[in-house]
Protein backbone atom coordinates (compact mmCIF):
# COMPACT_ATOMS: atom_id res chain seq x y z
CA UNK A 1 0.00 0.00 0.00
CA UNK A 2 1.38 3.41 -0.79
CA UNK A 3 2.24 5.43 2.25
CA UNK A 4 -0.17 8.21 1.26
CA UNK A 5 -3.08 5.76 1.12
CA UNK A 6 -2.07 4.35 4.46
CA UNK A 7 -1.84 7.82 5.96
CA UNK A 8 -5.27 8.75 4.58
CA UNK A 9 -6.79 5.64 6.15
CA UNK A 10 -5.41 6.21 9.61
CA UNK A 11 -5.65 10.01 9.60
CA UNK A 12 -9.15 10.27 11.15
CA UNK A 13 -8.29 7.77 13.87
CA UNK A 14 -4.99 9.49 14.65
CA UNK A 15 -6.70 12.86 14.70
CA UNK A 16 -9.33 11.62 17.17
CA UNK A 17 -6.64 10.13 19.38
CA UNK A 18 -4.67 13.36 19.32
CA UNK A 19 -7.71 15.44 20.27
CA UNK A 20 -9.28 13.12 22.83
CA UNK A 21 -6.33 11.28 24.33
CA UNK A 22 -2.95 12.86 23.66
CA UNK A 23 -3.82 16.55 24.05
CA UNK A 24 -5.81 16.04 27.30
CA UNK A 25 -2.97 13.93 28.72
CA UNK A 26 -0.45 16.68 28.07
CA UNK A 27 -2.86 19.30 29.38
CA UNK A 28 -3.52 17.36 32.59
CA UNK A 29 0.19 16.85 33.10
CA UNK A 30 0.80 20.60 32.80
CA UNK A 31 -2.19 21.34 35.05
CA UNK A 32 -0.77 19.06 37.72
CA UNK A 33 1.85 21.70 38.39
CA UNK A 34 -0.76 24.34 39.19
CA UNK A 35 -3.42 24.61 41.83
CA UNK A 36 -6.65 26.59 41.57
CA UNK A 37 -8.32 27.43 44.82
CA UNK A 38 -11.24 29.61 45.82
CA UNK A 39 -10.16 32.64 47.81
CA UNK A 40 -11.58 32.16 51.29
CA UNK A 41 -11.73 34.39 54.30
CA UNK A 42 -12.10 33.15 57.82
CA UNK A 43 -15.30 34.80 59.00
CA UNK A 44 -17.30 34.64 62.16
CA UNK A 45 -20.66 33.23 61.23
CA UNK A 46 -23.69 32.69 63.39
CA UNK A 47 -25.66 29.62 62.34
CA UNK A 48 -29.06 28.65 63.69
CA UNK A 49 -29.74 25.01 62.93
CA UNK A 50 -33.24 23.52 63.04
CA UNK A 51 -33.91 21.18 65.92
CA UNK A 52 -36.88 19.21 67.14
CA UNK A 53 -37.77 21.52 70.00
CA UNK A 54 -35.79 24.61 69.23
CA UNK A 55 -32.96 25.83 67.05
CA UNK A 56 -29.34 25.31 68.03
CA UNK A 57 -27.37 28.51 67.73
CA UNK A 58 -23.64 28.30 67.07
CA UNK A 59 -21.22 31.13 66.43
CA UNK A 60 -18.07 29.86 64.83
CA UNK A 61 -15.22 30.94 62.63
CA UNK A 62 -15.51 29.24 59.32
CA UNK A 63 -13.83 29.62 55.98
CA UNK A 64 -16.12 31.23 53.43
CA UNK A 65 -15.36 31.96 49.83
CA UNK A 66 -16.02 35.64 49.22
CA UNK A 67 -17.62 36.65 45.95
CA UNK A 68 -16.34 39.53 43.86
CA UNK A 69 -18.46 42.53 42.86
CA UNK A 70 -20.28 40.62 40.13
CA UNK A 71 -21.27 37.91 42.63
CA UNK A 72 -18.97 35.27 41.14
CA UNK A 73 -16.58 33.19 43.19
CA UNK A 74 -12.98 34.33 43.00
CA UNK A 75 -10.27 31.78 42.45
CA UNK A 76 -6.51 32.03 42.26
CA UNK A 77 -4.12 29.78 40.41
CA UNK A 78 -0.66 29.15 41.80
CA UNK A 79 2.31 27.27 40.45
CA UNK A 80 3.15 24.56 42.96
CA UNK A 81 5.68 22.43 41.12
CA UNK A 82 5.96 18.84 42.23
CA UNK A 83 3.87 19.36 45.40
CA UNK A 84 0.95 17.24 44.22
CA UNK A 85 3.28 14.35 43.42
CA UNK A 86 4.96 14.83 46.78
CA UNK A 87 1.60 14.62 48.55
CA UNK A 88 0.81 11.33 46.92
CA UNK A 89 4.23 9.66 46.99
CA UNK A 90 5.35 11.07 50.36
CA UNK A 91 9.03 10.70 49.42
CA UNK A 92 10.43 11.61 52.86
CA UNK A 93 8.38 8.95 54.64
CA UNK A 94 9.02 6.43 51.87
CA UNK A 95 12.77 7.01 52.00
CA UNK A 96 12.78 6.55 55.79
CA UNK A 97 10.78 3.36 55.51
CA UNK A 98 13.14 1.91 52.91
CA UNK A 99 16.21 2.96 54.89
CA UNK A 100 14.81 1.27 58.00
CA UNK A 101 13.73 -1.77 55.95
CA UNK A 102 10.20 -1.32 57.31
CA UNK A 103 7.71 -2.65 54.75
CA UNK A 104 4.70 -1.94 56.99
CA UNK A 105 5.56 1.75 57.13
CA UNK A 106 6.05 1.94 53.37
CA UNK A 107 2.78 0.16 52.64
CA UNK A 108 0.94 2.40 55.09
CA UNK A 109 1.34 5.19 52.53
CA UNK A 110 -1.67 4.90 50.21
CA UNK A 111 0.25 5.09 46.94
CA UNK A 112 2.79 2.39 47.73
CA UNK A 113 0.15 0.10 49.20
CA UNK A 114 -1.92 0.48 46.06
CA UNK A 115 1.17 -0.13 43.92
CA UNK A 116 1.90 -3.30 45.85
CA UNK A 117 -1.65 -4.54 45.29
CA UNK A 118 -1.54 -3.71 41.59
CA UNK A 119 1.75 -5.54 41.10
CA UNK A 120 0.63 -8.65 43.05
CA UNK A 121 -2.66 -8.65 41.19
CA UNK A 122 -1.04 -8.36 37.77
CA UNK A 123 1.80 -10.83 38.33
CA UNK A 124 -0.50 -13.48 39.80
CA UNK A 125 -3.54 -13.18 37.54
CA UNK A 126 -1.77 -12.74 34.22
CA UNK A 127 0.13 -16.06 34.16
CA UNK A 128 -2.95 -17.84 35.50
CA UNK A 129 -5.18 -16.31 32.83
CA UNK A 130 -2.80 -17.26 30.02
CA UNK A 131 -2.12 -20.71 31.44
CA UNK A 132 -5.78 -21.49 32.05
CA UNK A 133 -6.78 -20.07 28.67
CA UNK A 134 -4.24 -22.26 26.93
CA UNK A 135 -5.33 -25.31 28.93
CA UNK A 136 -8.99 -24.75 27.99
CA UNK A 137 -8.05 -24.23 24.34
CA UNK A 138 -6.11 -27.50 24.22
CA UNK A 139 -8.92 -29.37 25.96
CA UNK A 140 -11.52 -28.00 23.57
CA UNK A 141 -9.27 -28.76 20.62
CA UNK A 142 -9.16 -32.41 21.67
CA UNK A 143 -12.88 -32.68 22.33
CA UNK A 144 -15.10 -34.68 20.07
CA UNK A 145 -16.69 -32.56 17.35
CA UNK A 146 -20.18 -33.44 18.51
CA UNK A 147 -19.84 -31.84 21.96
CA UNK A 148 -17.46 -29.06 20.96
CA UNK A 149 -20.17 -26.42 20.50
CA UNK A 150 -21.73 -26.74 23.96
CA UNK A 151 -18.27 -27.01 25.57
CA UNK A 152 -17.18 -23.74 23.94
CA UNK A 153 -20.42 -22.09 25.04
CA UNK A 154 -19.94 -23.11 28.66
CA UNK A 155 -16.28 -22.07 28.61
CA UNK A 156 -17.16 -18.63 27.29
CA UNK A 157 -19.94 -17.90 29.81
CA UNK A 158 -17.77 -16.29 32.51
CA UNK A 159 -16.52 -13.70 30.03
CA UNK A 160 -20.02 -12.74 28.92
CA UNK A 161 -21.38 -12.09 32.38
CA UNK A 162 -21.30 -8.36 33.16
CA UNK A 163 -18.66 -7.65 35.83
CA UNK A 164 -21.26 -5.93 38.01
CA UNK A 165 -23.40 -9.07 38.08
CA UNK A 166 -20.33 -11.21 38.62
CA UNK A 167 -19.16 -9.08 41.53
CA UNK A 168 -22.63 -9.17 43.08
CA UNK A 169 -22.66 -12.95 42.72
CA UNK A 170 -19.30 -13.24 44.46
CA UNK A 171 -20.59 -10.98 47.23
CA UNK A 172 -23.72 -13.07 47.75
CA UNK A 173 -21.71 -16.26 47.70
CA UNK A 174 -18.97 -15.27 50.10
CA UNK A 175 -20.27 -12.54 52.41
CA UNK A 176 -20.82 -13.45 56.08
CA UNK A 177 -24.18 -15.11 55.50
CA UNK A 178 -23.52 -16.01 51.89
CA UNK A 179 -24.38 -19.33 50.29
CA UNK A 180 -20.82 -20.66 49.92
CA UNK A 181 -19.85 -19.33 53.35
CA UNK A 182 -22.78 -21.09 54.99
CA UNK A 183 -21.79 -24.33 53.27
CA UNK A 184 -18.18 -23.98 54.38
CA UNK A 185 -19.28 -23.16 57.94
CA UNK A 186 -21.50 -26.24 57.95
CA UNK A 187 -18.65 -28.54 56.94
CA UNK A 188 -15.99 -27.00 59.12
CA UNK A 189 -18.17 -26.21 62.13
CA UNK A 190 -16.59 -22.78 62.67
CA UNK A 191 -17.77 -19.27 61.91
CA UNK A 192 -16.21 -17.91 58.74
CA UNK A 193 -16.00 -14.22 57.89
CA UNK A 194 -14.16 -13.87 54.59
CA UNK A 195 -14.91 -10.19 54.12
CA UNK A 196 -13.35 -9.36 57.46
CA UNK A 197 -9.87 -10.12 56.15
CA UNK A 198 -8.20 -7.84 53.60
CA UNK A 199 -6.02 -10.62 52.17
CA UNK A 200 -9.01 -12.93 51.70
CA UNK A 201 -10.81 -10.24 49.71
CA UNK A 202 -7.71 -9.76 47.51
CA UNK A 203 -7.63 -13.51 46.80
CA UNK A 204 -11.34 -13.46 45.93
CA UNK A 205 -10.73 -10.56 43.55
CA UNK A 206 -7.87 -12.37 41.84
CA UNK A 207 -9.98 -15.52 41.57
CA UNK A 208 -12.80 -13.55 39.99
CA UNK A 209 -10.41 -11.87 37.56
CA UNK A 210 -8.92 -15.15 36.37
CA UNK A 211 -12.37 -16.76 36.11
CA UNK A 212 -13.70 -13.79 34.16
CA UNK A 213 -10.84 -13.30 31.65
CA UNK A 214 -9.53 -16.83 31.05
CA UNK A 215 -12.25 -17.48 28.43
CA UNK A 216 -10.95 -14.55 26.40
CA UNK A 217 -7.44 -16.04 26.44
CA UNK A 218 -9.04 -19.34 25.46
CA UNK A 219 -10.70 -17.77 22.42
CA UNK A 220 -7.45 -16.21 21.22
CA UNK A 221 -5.44 -19.40 21.72
CA UNK A 222 -8.14 -21.56 20.15
CA UNK A 223 -8.04 -19.40 17.04
CA UNK A 224 -4.37 -20.19 16.75
CA UNK A 225 -4.62 -23.93 17.31
Amino acid sequence: MKFRTFAAFIAPSVLMMMIFIAAPLVSVFIQSFYQTQPIVDMVQVETRTPGFVTQTCVTETKPRPTPDDAGKMRTETNFIGWQRYGNVLEPAKARDAIRNLDPAALLAIDFWGALRFMLTFTFITLPLVIGLGLAIAIVVNNTARSVRGPVIFVSLLPFIITPVIGALAICWLFVGDGIRTRAMEHYSGTDIAIFAQGRAIEILMMFFRVWHVAPFAFVIFYAGL
Binding site: Q37, T49, F52, V53, T61, A108, V175, A193
Partner: protein, 392 residues
Protein backbone atom coordinates in the same frame (compact mmCIF):
# COMPACT_ATOMS: atom_id res chain seq x y z
CA UNK B 1 -51.75 14.16 39.93
CA UNK B 2 -54.67 16.08 41.39
CA UNK B 3 -56.38 13.02 42.85
CA UNK B 4 -59.50 13.73 44.82
CA UNK B 5 -58.61 11.21 47.51
CA UNK B 6 -56.00 13.58 48.96
CA UNK B 7 -57.09 17.20 49.27
CA UNK B 8 -55.74 19.08 46.31
CA UNK B 9 -53.21 21.91 46.36
CA UNK B 10 -54.47 25.24 47.70
CA UNK B 11 -53.63 27.01 44.46
CA UNK B 12 -53.00 26.20 40.82
CA UNK B 13 -49.33 26.60 39.92
CA UNK B 14 -48.75 28.05 36.44
CA UNK B 15 -44.96 28.36 36.48
CA UNK B 16 -43.05 25.24 35.34
CA UNK B 17 -40.93 24.15 38.28
CA UNK B 18 -38.35 21.44 38.89
CA UNK B 19 -36.83 20.01 42.04
CA UNK B 20 -33.80 17.88 42.84
CA UNK B 21 -33.81 15.94 46.10
CA UNK B 22 -32.71 12.71 47.70
CA UNK B 23 -34.77 9.59 47.01
CA UNK B 24 -35.79 8.29 50.43
CA UNK B 25 -39.39 7.83 51.52
CA UNK B 26 -39.88 11.24 53.14
CA UNK B 27 -38.85 13.05 49.95
CA UNK B 28 -41.17 10.87 47.87
CA UNK B 29 -44.08 11.94 50.08
CA UNK B 30 -43.10 15.61 49.98
CA UNK B 31 -42.57 15.78 46.21
CA UNK B 32 -45.83 13.97 45.48
CA UNK B 33 -47.63 16.53 47.65
CA UNK B 34 -45.87 19.30 45.70
CA UNK B 35 -46.80 17.68 42.40
CA UNK B 36 -50.49 18.18 43.17
CA UNK B 37 -50.00 21.87 42.41
CA UNK B 38 -49.35 20.97 38.76
CA UNK B 39 -46.53 22.11 36.46
CA UNK B 40 -44.03 20.51 38.78
CA UNK B 41 -41.42 17.90 37.87
CA UNK B 42 -39.57 16.31 40.76
CA UNK B 43 -36.28 14.51 40.34
CA UNK B 44 -35.24 12.16 43.14
CA UNK B 45 -32.11 10.10 43.51
CA UNK B 46 -29.15 9.41 45.70
CA UNK B 47 -26.82 11.20 43.27
CA UNK B 48 -28.46 14.52 44.05
CA UNK B 49 -25.51 15.76 46.10
CA UNK B 50 -23.15 15.35 43.15
CA UNK B 51 -25.51 17.08 40.74
CA UNK B 52 -26.69 19.96 42.89
CA UNK B 53 -23.64 22.28 43.04
CA UNK B 54 -23.21 22.47 39.26
CA UNK B 55 -26.95 22.40 38.49
CA UNK B 56 -27.65 25.30 40.82
CA UNK B 57 -24.60 27.25 39.62
CA UNK B 58 -25.95 27.22 36.07
CA UNK B 59 -27.63 30.40 34.91
CA UNK B 60 -30.58 29.94 34.77
CA UNK B 61 -30.47 27.24 37.43
CA UNK B 62 -31.46 23.78 36.26
CA UNK B 63 -33.70 23.27 39.29
CA UNK B 64 -35.79 25.70 41.31
CA UNK B 65 -36.18 23.73 44.52
CA UNK B 66 -33.43 21.70 46.11
CA UNK B 67 -33.61 19.11 48.88
CA UNK B 68 -30.64 19.40 51.24
CA UNK B 69 -29.35 18.40 54.66
CA UNK B 70 -26.62 19.73 57.00
CA UNK B 71 -23.81 18.41 54.84
CA UNK B 72 -25.22 18.89 51.36
CA UNK B 73 -26.16 22.53 51.84
CA UNK B 74 -22.51 23.50 52.35
CA UNK B 75 -21.40 23.58 48.67
CA UNK B 76 -24.52 25.56 47.76
CA UNK B 77 -23.94 28.03 50.60
CA UNK B 78 -20.29 28.46 49.70
CA UNK B 79 -20.99 29.05 46.03
CA UNK B 80 -23.84 31.43 46.85
CA UNK B 81 -26.25 29.65 44.52
CA UNK B 82 -29.23 29.62 46.87
CA UNK B 83 -31.25 32.66 47.80
CA UNK B 84 -32.16 34.01 51.26
CA UNK B 85 -35.75 33.21 52.08
CA UNK B 86 -36.60 35.96 54.58
CA UNK B 87 -39.10 37.88 52.41
CA UNK B 88 -40.65 34.67 51.04
CA UNK B 89 -41.13 33.37 54.58
CA UNK B 90 -42.74 36.68 55.55
CA UNK B 91 -45.13 36.43 52.58
CA UNK B 92 -46.06 32.74 52.54
CA UNK B 93 -44.52 31.07 55.58
CA UNK B 94 -47.18 31.69 58.21
CA UNK B 95 -47.52 28.00 58.98
CA UNK B 96 -43.83 27.50 59.61
CA UNK B 97 -42.55 26.93 63.12
CA UNK B 98 -39.52 28.96 64.24
CA UNK B 99 -37.41 25.85 64.79
CA UNK B 100 -37.79 24.93 61.10
CA UNK B 101 -35.64 27.84 59.94
CA UNK B 102 -31.98 27.39 59.08
CA UNK B 103 -30.31 30.76 59.47
CA UNK B 104 -26.82 31.83 58.52
CA UNK B 105 -25.71 35.27 59.69
CA UNK B 106 -29.33 36.15 60.42
CA UNK B 107 -30.60 35.22 56.95
CA UNK B 108 -32.92 32.27 56.43
CA UNK B 109 -31.25 29.98 53.89
CA UNK B 110 -33.31 26.80 54.20
CA UNK B 111 -36.59 25.52 55.61
CA UNK B 112 -36.26 22.21 57.45
CA UNK B 113 -39.05 19.71 57.30
CA UNK B 114 -37.69 16.83 59.36
CA UNK B 115 -34.92 15.93 61.74
CA UNK B 116 -32.85 12.83 61.56
CA UNK B 117 -30.53 11.13 63.97
CA UNK B 118 -28.95 7.84 64.91
CA UNK B 119 -30.38 6.39 68.08
CA UNK B 120 -30.38 3.08 69.91
CA UNK B 121 -32.80 0.63 68.33
CA UNK B 122 -33.14 -2.47 70.46
CA UNK B 123 -34.98 -5.77 70.71
CA UNK B 124 -36.89 -5.10 73.90
CA UNK B 125 -37.96 -8.74 74.12
CA UNK B 126 -34.33 -9.95 74.21
CA UNK B 127 -33.36 -7.30 76.74
CA UNK B 128 -36.27 -8.38 78.96
CA UNK B 129 -35.35 -12.04 78.64
CA UNK B 130 -31.77 -11.32 79.70
CA UNK B 131 -33.00 -9.10 82.53
CA UNK B 132 -31.26 -5.96 81.26
CA UNK B 133 -32.63 -2.43 81.26
CA UNK B 134 -32.38 -0.40 78.06
CA UNK B 135 -28.85 1.08 78.25
CA UNK B 136 -28.44 4.85 78.33
CA UNK B 137 -24.65 5.10 78.21
CA UNK B 138 -22.14 3.31 76.02
CA UNK B 139 -20.62 1.65 79.09
CA UNK B 140 -24.08 0.26 79.89
CA UNK B 141 -24.35 -0.93 76.30
CA UNK B 142 -21.16 -2.95 76.74
CA UNK B 143 -22.40 -4.42 80.02
CA UNK B 144 -25.79 -5.27 78.53
CA UNK B 145 -24.10 -6.91 75.54
CA UNK B 146 -22.00 -9.07 77.88
CA UNK B 147 -25.10 -10.22 79.79
CA UNK B 148 -27.07 -11.04 76.65
CA UNK B 149 -24.04 -12.88 75.26
CA UNK B 150 -23.87 -14.97 78.43
CA UNK B 151 -27.55 -15.82 78.01
CA UNK B 152 -26.88 -16.86 74.40
CA UNK B 153 -30.07 -15.30 73.05
CA UNK B 154 -28.94 -13.88 69.74
CA UNK B 155 -26.21 -14.30 67.07
CA UNK B 156 -24.51 -10.95 67.50
CA UNK B 157 -25.20 -8.52 70.27
CA UNK B 158 -24.52 -5.31 68.42
CA UNK B 159 -24.86 -3.94 64.96
CA UNK B 160 -23.38 -0.67 63.78
CA UNK B 161 -23.13 1.44 60.65
CA UNK B 162 -19.36 1.05 60.52
CA UNK B 163 -18.86 0.62 56.81
CA UNK B 164 -15.40 1.94 55.95
CA UNK B 165 -15.83 5.40 54.50
CA UNK B 166 -18.55 7.95 55.24
CA UNK B 167 -20.46 5.66 57.61
CA UNK B 168 -17.49 4.95 59.84
CA UNK B 169 -16.57 8.63 59.79
CA UNK B 170 -20.10 9.46 61.01
CA UNK B 171 -19.84 6.88 63.81
CA UNK B 172 -16.55 8.40 64.95
CA UNK B 173 -17.88 11.98 64.75
CA UNK B 174 -20.92 11.05 66.87
CA UNK B 175 -18.90 9.30 69.56
CA UNK B 176 -16.16 11.93 69.54
CA UNK B 177 -18.64 14.78 70.05
CA UNK B 178 -20.17 12.68 72.83
CA UNK B 179 -16.74 12.57 74.48
CA UNK B 180 -16.71 16.36 74.38
CA UNK B 181 -14.10 16.65 71.66
CA UNK B 182 -13.92 19.35 68.98
CA UNK B 183 -12.73 18.21 65.58
CA UNK B 184 -11.39 21.48 64.22
CA UNK B 185 -9.48 24.20 66.03
CA UNK B 186 -10.49 27.84 65.69
CA UNK B 187 -7.70 28.41 63.17
CA UNK B 188 -8.88 25.56 60.96
CA UNK B 189 -6.22 23.03 61.92
CA UNK B 190 -7.47 19.53 62.78
CA UNK B 191 -7.68 18.47 66.40
CA UNK B 192 -8.43 14.79 66.66
CA UNK B 193 -5.16 13.18 67.86
CA UNK B 194 -5.92 13.76 71.53
CA UNK B 195 -7.31 12.01 74.60
CA UNK B 196 -10.93 12.20 73.42
CA UNK B 197 -9.93 10.78 70.04
CA UNK B 198 -8.07 7.84 71.53
CA UNK B 199 -10.93 7.16 73.96
CA UNK B 200 -13.35 7.16 71.03
CA UNK B 201 -11.27 4.64 69.11
CA UNK B 202 -10.86 2.40 72.15
CA UNK B 203 -14.62 2.47 72.91
CA UNK B 204 -15.48 1.68 69.29
CA UNK B 205 -12.99 -1.18 69.30
CA UNK B 206 -14.58 -2.57 72.48
CA UNK B 207 -17.99 -2.43 70.78
CA UNK B 208 -16.74 -4.32 67.72
CA UNK B 209 -16.02 -7.32 69.93
CA UNK B 210 -19.80 -7.87 70.05
CA UNK B 211 -20.42 -7.36 66.34
CA UNK B 212 -20.39 -9.51 63.25
CA UNK B 213 -16.71 -9.69 62.22
CA UNK B 214 -17.51 -8.13 58.86
CA UNK B 215 -18.49 -4.80 60.42
CA UNK B 216 -16.30 -2.85 58.01
CA UNK B 217 -18.80 -3.51 55.20
CA UNK B 218 -21.83 -2.86 57.39
CA UNK B 219 -23.91 0.10 56.21
CA UNK B 220 -27.43 1.17 57.24
CA UNK B 221 -29.15 -1.37 54.98
CA UNK B 222 -26.93 -4.17 56.33
CA UNK B 223 -27.80 -3.30 59.95
CA UNK B 224 -31.48 -2.92 59.08
CA UNK B 225 -31.44 -6.40 57.55
CA UNK B 226 -29.61 -7.79 60.59
CA UNK B 227 -32.44 -6.46 62.78
CA UNK B 228 -35.13 -7.70 60.43
CA UNK B 229 -33.61 -11.19 60.40
CA UNK B 230 -33.37 -11.21 64.18
CA UNK B 231 -29.58 -11.43 64.23
CA UNK B 232 -28.74 -8.51 66.53
CA UNK B 233 -30.09 -7.14 69.79
CA UNK B 234 -29.03 -3.48 69.67
CA UNK B 235 -27.71 -0.95 67.19
CA UNK B 236 -27.35 2.78 66.86
CA UNK B 237 -29.29 3.19 63.62
CA UNK B 238 -30.86 6.02 61.64
CA UNK B 239 -34.39 6.81 62.79
CA UNK B 240 -35.71 6.56 59.22
CA UNK B 241 -34.97 2.81 59.22
CA UNK B 242 -37.44 2.28 62.07
CA UNK B 243 -40.42 1.81 59.77
CA UNK B 244 -38.74 -1.11 58.01
CA UNK B 245 -38.63 -3.09 61.27
CA UNK B 246 -42.41 -3.37 61.23
CA UNK B 247 -42.63 -4.20 57.53
CA UNK B 248 -44.27 -7.63 57.62
CA UNK B 249 -43.06 -8.44 54.10
CA UNK B 250 -39.38 -8.31 55.07
CA UNK B 251 -39.10 -8.36 58.84
CA UNK B 252 -39.17 -11.37 61.14
CA UNK B 253 -39.32 -9.18 64.24
CA UNK B 254 -42.43 -7.08 63.64
CA UNK B 255 -43.39 -5.22 66.79
CA UNK B 256 -40.36 -6.35 68.76
CA UNK B 257 -37.95 -3.54 67.94
CA UNK B 258 -38.09 -0.44 70.08
CA UNK B 259 -36.46 2.96 69.74
CA UNK B 260 -34.34 4.05 72.69
CA UNK B 261 -32.45 7.23 73.32
CA UNK B 262 -28.94 7.39 71.85
CA UNK B 263 -26.46 6.46 74.58
CA UNK B 264 -24.18 9.07 76.09
CA UNK B 265 -20.42 8.67 76.11
CA UNK B 266 -19.66 10.71 79.21
CA UNK B 267 -21.60 10.70 82.45
CA UNK B 268 -23.96 13.65 82.36
CA UNK B 269 -23.03 14.35 78.77
CA UNK B 270 -25.20 14.78 75.71
CA UNK B 271 -26.27 11.75 73.69
CA UNK B 272 -23.29 10.73 71.57
CA UNK B 273 -24.91 11.42 68.24
CA UNK B 274 -25.46 14.36 65.89
CA UNK B 275 -28.71 15.96 64.85
CA UNK B 276 -29.38 16.22 61.14
CA UNK B 277 -32.12 18.11 59.41
CA UNK B 278 -33.49 17.76 55.87
CA UNK B 279 -35.21 20.61 54.11
CA UNK B 280 -35.67 22.72 51.03
CA UNK B 281 -33.71 25.53 49.47
CA UNK B 282 -34.64 27.82 46.60
CA UNK B 283 -32.13 28.54 43.84
CA UNK B 284 -30.75 32.02 43.32
CA UNK B 285 -30.36 31.93 39.54
CA UNK B 286 -34.09 31.99 38.80
CA UNK B 287 -36.52 34.86 38.34
CA UNK B 288 -38.27 36.31 41.39
CA UNK B 289 -41.59 35.18 39.94
CA UNK B 290 -40.31 31.59 39.72
CA UNK B 291 -38.92 31.84 43.25
CA UNK B 292 -42.30 32.96 44.56
CA UNK B 293 -44.10 30.08 42.87
CA UNK B 294 -41.40 27.61 43.94
CA UNK B 295 -41.70 28.68 47.57
CA UNK B 296 -45.48 28.40 47.51
CA UNK B 297 -45.27 24.91 46.02
CA UNK B 298 -42.63 23.94 48.55
CA UNK B 299 -44.87 25.11 51.40
CA UNK B 300 -47.63 22.90 49.98
CA UNK B 301 -45.18 20.03 49.98
CA UNK B 302 -44.38 20.32 53.67
CA UNK B 303 -47.79 21.28 55.04
CA UNK B 304 -49.86 19.60 57.75
CA UNK B 305 -51.96 17.66 55.22
CA UNK B 306 -48.91 15.91 53.82
CA UNK B 307 -47.62 15.09 57.30
CA UNK B 308 -50.97 13.64 58.38
CA UNK B 309 -51.06 11.45 55.29
CA UNK B 310 -47.43 10.30 55.67
CA UNK B 311 -46.99 10.53 59.42
CA UNK B 312 -44.50 7.73 59.93
CA UNK B 313 -42.11 8.58 57.09
CA UNK B 314 -39.88 10.77 59.22
CA UNK B 315 -39.59 12.80 62.40
CA UNK B 316 -41.40 15.79 60.94
CA UNK B 317 -40.94 19.28 62.32
CA UNK B 318 -44.26 20.32 60.81
CA UNK B 319 -47.39 21.09 62.81
CA UNK B 320 -49.65 18.05 63.01
CA UNK B 321 -47.01 15.37 63.39
CA UNK B 322 -47.92 12.62 65.84
CA UNK B 323 -44.85 10.60 66.85
CA UNK B 324 -45.38 6.87 66.49
CA UNK B 325 -43.92 4.11 68.66
CA UNK B 326 -40.71 3.84 66.69
CA UNK B 327 -40.13 7.59 66.72
CA UNK B 328 -39.97 7.88 70.51
CA UNK B 329 -36.28 7.12 70.73
CA UNK B 330 -35.33 9.69 68.15
CA UNK B 331 -37.48 12.35 69.79
CA UNK B 332 -36.07 11.56 73.23
CA UNK B 333 -32.62 11.93 71.69
CA UNK B 334 -33.52 15.20 69.98
CA UNK B 335 -35.00 16.73 73.12
CA UNK B 336 -32.41 15.50 75.63
CA UNK B 337 -30.50 17.85 77.91
CA UNK B 338 -27.74 18.67 77.54
CA UNK B 339 -28.67 18.79 73.86
CA UNK B 340 -26.60 16.91 71.36
CA UNK B 341 -24.79 18.91 68.69
CA UNK B 342 -26.12 19.42 65.19
CA UNK B 343 -23.86 18.13 62.48
CA UNK B 344 -21.79 21.20 61.55
CA UNK B 345 -22.44 22.66 58.12
CA UNK B 346 -18.94 23.74 57.18
CA UNK B 347 -16.40 22.89 54.49
CA UNK B 348 -13.80 21.93 57.08
CA UNK B 349 -16.22 19.44 58.64
CA UNK B 350 -16.72 17.81 55.25
CA UNK B 351 -12.95 17.53 54.79
CA UNK B 352 -12.51 16.09 58.28
CA UNK B 353 -15.30 13.58 57.68
CA UNK B 354 -13.56 12.37 54.51
CA UNK B 355 -10.23 12.16 56.33
CA UNK B 356 -11.83 10.05 59.06
CA UNK B 357 -13.70 7.83 56.64
CA UNK B 358 -10.60 7.04 54.64
CA UNK B 359 -8.20 6.41 57.50
CA UNK B 360 -10.01 4.93 60.49
CA UNK B 361 -10.20 1.34 59.30
CA UNK B 362 -6.41 1.03 59.69
CA UNK B 363 -6.87 0.98 63.49
CA UNK B 364 -9.57 -1.68 63.34
CA UNK B 365 -7.63 -3.99 61.06
CA UNK B 366 -4.64 -3.66 63.37
CA UNK B 367 -2.43 -1.90 60.83
CA UNK B 368 -1.85 1.20 62.92
CA UNK B 369 -2.01 2.20 66.56
CA UNK B 370 -4.68 4.61 67.83
CA UNK B 371 -2.27 7.55 67.88
CA UNK B 372 -0.87 6.59 64.47
CA UNK B 373 -4.35 6.40 62.94
CA UNK B 374 -5.39 9.77 64.34
CA UNK B 375 -2.12 11.34 63.19
CA UNK B 376 -2.82 10.00 59.68
CA UNK B 377 -6.34 11.50 59.85
CA UNK B 378 -4.91 14.90 60.76
CA UNK B 379 -2.29 14.72 57.98
CA UNK B 380 -4.97 13.76 55.45
CA UNK B 381 -7.21 16.61 56.58
CA UNK B 382 -4.38 19.13 56.42
CA UNK B 383 -3.50 18.10 52.87
CA UNK B 384 -7.13 18.28 51.80
CA UNK B 385 -7.69 21.62 53.54
CA UNK B 386 -4.61 23.13 51.87
CA UNK B 387 -5.77 21.95 48.47
CA UNK B 388 -9.22 23.41 49.06
CA UNK B 389 -7.65 26.67 50.10
CA UNK B 390 -9.15 26.75 53.60
CA UNK B 391 -5.81 26.31 55.30
CA UNK B 392 -2.71 28.25 54.30
Amino acid sequence: MGSTAMAACAFENTVPLKSLTAGFEAWKSVTSAMAECRNFTPELGQEFATKQPEAFAANPSLYHIGGVANETIVPLLNAGTIRPLDDLVAKYGQNLKPNQLFKVDGKIMAIAMMVHTQHLMNRKDILEQAGVAVPTTWDEVLMAAEKIKAAGLVDYLLGATTKAGWNFGEKFVNMYFGMGGALINADGTPSVNNEAGVKTLVTLKALTAYMDLEYLISDSTYVQQQFQQGKIAMANLWASRGGAMDDAAESKVVGRVDGGIAPTAMAGGAPATTLWWDGIVIAKNITDEEADAAFMVAMEGIDTEMVTAHNDDAIWLVEGYVPGRLAQGAIATASATPPKPSYPSTTTQGLMHSALGDNLSAFFTGEKSAAGTLAAVEAFHTTGAKEAGVLK
